[in-house]
Symmetry: C2
Subunit: 178 residues, 2 copies
DNA sequence: ACCTGAACACCGTTCAAGT
DNA sequence: ACCTGAACACCGTTCAAGT
């Protein structure tokens, strides 16, 4: 990688991160402009918007994967999943767009059923709970992530009042039988 | 309402409906073009995209509100909500964009807590269940709708395999105590 | 009253030409 | 090998001018 390419890449990522934080939207033109880079350069580094968002949130994805992995070896899978979801929610409120990255890193190719880094870690966490009889046997990692998609619709002012309750509803729903 | 205005309105709605069904997206320019109408005319009839989507799905919203009302007077609130959610899901897979209309018709103004037609009906259904001790006391209509947002992320090929299970997870999660 | 369509300020994406 | 920026085909929104 040439040094100018390296520099451009990080400038693009910084610009994208900044725009995501305070705009919530991600105009690729704006990113290129803010990064001081030609339009084509952006496309050379990132195939599409999803790839860019994914790259912006690598650190967060790694955090979440590590945490899921740790929770999988704890003795209370339900509490583990609940904590993990709380962390996910923390990211979701601050880092807008992170759900896209989380989603693709869980199930990279839906039709093929291909799991990404995060998918493997969440599966681990879920499996641990299922072995202990704490979760229904028929749910998978993508189910869990799908059910967290409501986070993208919750507004800031109702967040504290709603999100903890809804995460409880979700975790309760994942429990077996009844 | 002048007769040409009336005709334009229905042509816009027809065009929008058609585009939503087979594109899934709703370009306002395309709508105007397909309706054979000037750009300004579209804006005269519908303030913004949300208003247009809402108008397209009035019939569906009415159906859902009526059904919720009927279910509210049934004797099994849990089964009632489950059926209602199944109907919602049916709309969500065919009529893309309907979740937007459902959402705004449930909670028209989040910060003010203003409920729309559908909000009233779903509240009724929820209240009936809460009185019977079938649902947690602390959830409201917006909670339920928020939790159904995952429907917008499910692809067609995984739909049958995933959605029924996820609706069960949701309904289970809404039950009290545990 | 209502409609039209040009005008404005934006997009995403591509690709020849440059270094 | 990588970058630039013009070019293309689109957007959403507004508003003078028309009927």
């Amino acid at each position: 990688m040439r040094s100018d390419a390296e520099r451009n890449r990080t400038q693009i990522l910084d610009a994208a991160r900044a725009l995501l934080v305070d705009d919530g939207e991600l105009s690729l033109s704006k990113v290129a402009r803010a990064a001081g880079v030609g339009q084509g350069t952006l496309y050379r580094h990132f195939a599409d918007r999803e790839a860019l968002i994914g790259a912006v949130y690598t650190a967060e994805i790694d955090d979440l994967a590590l945490l899921a992995h740790q929770m999988a070896s704890g003795d209370d899978a339900v509490a583990g999943l609940r904590s993990w979801l709380a962390r996910l929610a923390d990211y979701a409120i601050v880092k807008r767009g992170v759900m896209t990255a989380v989603s693709t890193s869980t199930w990279t190719d839906v039709s093929a059923g291909t799991r990404g880094r995060l998918g493997v870690a969440v599966t681990e966490l879920l499996d641990a709970g299922q072995d202990a009889g704490a979760f229904r046997e028929d749910v998978d990692a993508r189910d869990v992530i799908l059910m967290t998609w409501f986070l993208t619709q919750v507004t800031r002012d109702e967040w504290d009042q709603r999100v903890p309750r809804l995460l409880d509803v979700l975790v309760d729903g994942l429990r077996p039988g009844s």
